[in-house]
Symmetry: C2
Subunit: 338 residues, 2 copies
């Protein structure tokens, strides 16, 4: 297993204190945005980029895709705003011509991160395309075989890390064990949780309940060394993901996690206006375990969803979160310790 | 496969028009309630029974368990109310002595249905105990190998049938195909939906997305003969379970279904008071495919949850719902047709 080349993908200023103080100008974040990814691309991608600018003028955005896709949309944009959007033109490569054309944007966006043109990549494209691009171009953290698409959910008890939410389906105990480590690192670095509580999502908390995969995991999790002083707190259920009272990190397979996330997101957004019970869930997730900052939005992402993904990518870059998380994962740890 | 003995387990008056008219006295429903099932048994079971009576004076309730468990609680109950609760004393059998004692209540409650002492059984006990008792004592519908624990969820577009929510984990395509039939019958009979739309819960609706189990199913579902004019409408996602806009019946494995149900239930109940966005979900599910009316409540059920389970059991009995659903499932249909 080779070490990933973290240095060149998270080159922003390393801070030890997290976000800049309110009176400080936030550091520039150069975000490569896949112009072709998502059901409503490229229109919502341009809309999302402009919205992200409004909230954060220090962003440098690089729209990645063929100019002919962006030009008609950009022509309708206010010239002052248009001038703030960079464009990384992507002529179709031989590879792209062979493959699904819509993956060209994400491949080029991820390459922009690898070559240092951008600090982070954002895409609402097909998760499989994003995972393959990221694995090939940016590499994996030590010991990571399968990435974890990682979402942060609001709860009354604070933010909760849910992983995986769609990249690792049909998975195995070793993968979920590594994802427990990745999730603990995320909670510690991004949510600043001390000694995160890690729970395993299952049905019924009695010993022996759950499916084959879940029944195999508790002994491995009990024996595992988790980063950042994290501890395994046992089996949890669907309701615990809503309350947040029992765990800061919830480990599950990508099939279950995706379905639960999409259900809760929709429930939270439908049940009345924000502030009166309803909760806003950022519809964007970090691809964890990749040697760089890659944020994935829903295929059905709207402009505000893309803007939230861009904001998340910028936030993670400014905190040098990926490098800080890699530092927490023991490099000599093999995935089936314990 | 033998035909189940439906006649003796759903002996109530057969109606063709569904619920009685408002000015009619509802028919008696004799419900056997497992006194020992659930985390907070027997106290919440007695509480649930008394609450159920308040809403529906035509109920006949039979508390099933050892008298020494009920006596101290019943002693504190108003004598007038106490007189309305029947008690089916369960001395521990040799089998019960060998097995987990807490399963004794559900085994006796299910036996009471089989012998005609009760019209339906309700338990908040261990789902595995309930499934085993029901299979042994009441039998299965023709063609059914694995039961489907079936929940009804409220949506803005009407009620939605979600199955399985916890009895069939580690399952297979044939089981989910049969569950599609069972769910269609439930939607037609219990929710009175004409030509129910049946969706398969997965992640991403593009062809080839999802796990191995889900990828195997669409051709089987497309070719299947579904009851009550139901039709397969394709792949759906977690958000569709909340909106209810795309399907009346949602088919999934018991692991995923249980986690989604518990997440949504909790989200719906937490987000503000009912009527202002929040939705009440009946925390009780019918065990579908059993030759009798068996309703399962959460292990963590409260008194109101038990009361909702009892009300559901009474409602299903009065509609002769189980017999009506069996009639909709073609008896010569093997589970791997199509």
């Amino acid at each position: 297993m080779t070490r990933p080349i973290i240095g060149r993908v998270a080159p922003g200023p390393r801070r030890t204190t997290g976000s800049p103080a309110p009176d400080q100008e936030p550091a520039t974040a150069r975000i490569a945005v896949d112009l072709l990814g998502g059901d409503h691309a490229p229109a919502v991608v341009v809309d999302g980029a402009l919205r992200a600018f409004q909230d954060d003028p220090s962003l440098h955005l690089l729209l990645v895709g063929p100019p002919e896709a962006a030009d008609p949309i950009l022509a309708a944009v206010d010239p002052v705003e248009r001038a703030r959007l960079g464009m990384l033109s992507v002529p179709a490569s031989v590879e792209d011509q062979k493959q699904d054309q819509t993956g060209a944007g994400v491949r080029a966006a991820v390459r922009a991160v690898a070559t240092g043109q951008a600090d982070a990549a954002v895409s609402a494209g097909n998760t499989i395309d994003i995972v393959l691009s990221a694995a090939r171009t940016l590499g994996r953290w030590p010991g990571v075989r399968r990435f974890a698409l990682t979402a942060a959910l609001p709860t009354a008890a604070g933010r909760l890390v849910l992983l995986d939410v769609g990249s690792s389906v049909d998975t195995d105990p070793d993968t979920l064990l590594m994802h427990a480590r990745l999730g603990a690192a995320y909670a510690a670095v991004v949510h600043e949780v001390a000694e995160p509580r890690v729970g395993l999502l299952t049905i019924g908390t009695e010993k022996g309940k759950g499916d084959r995969l879940r029944r195999a995991l508790p002994p491995l999790l009990e024996a595992a060394h988790l980063p950042a002083g994290a501890r395994y707190v046992g089996l949890i259920e669907g309701n615990d993901v809503v309350t947040g009272e029992r765990a800061d990190v919830v480990v599950t397979d990508g099939f279950t996690g995706n379905i639960l996330l999409k259900g809760l997101e929709t429930a939270y957004s439908r049940l009345g206006p924000p502030g009166r019970g309803a909760l806003e869930v950022p519809r964007a997730a970090l691809l964890l375990g990749v040697g760089g900052t890659v944020v994935v939005c829903h295929g059905a992402a709207s402009g505000p969803d893309l803007a939230a993904g861009i904001a998340l990518a910028a936030h993670l870059h400014r905190r040098a979160a990926v490098a800080a998380m890699v530092d927490l994962i023991p490099h000599n740890e093999v995935s089936h310790d314990g």
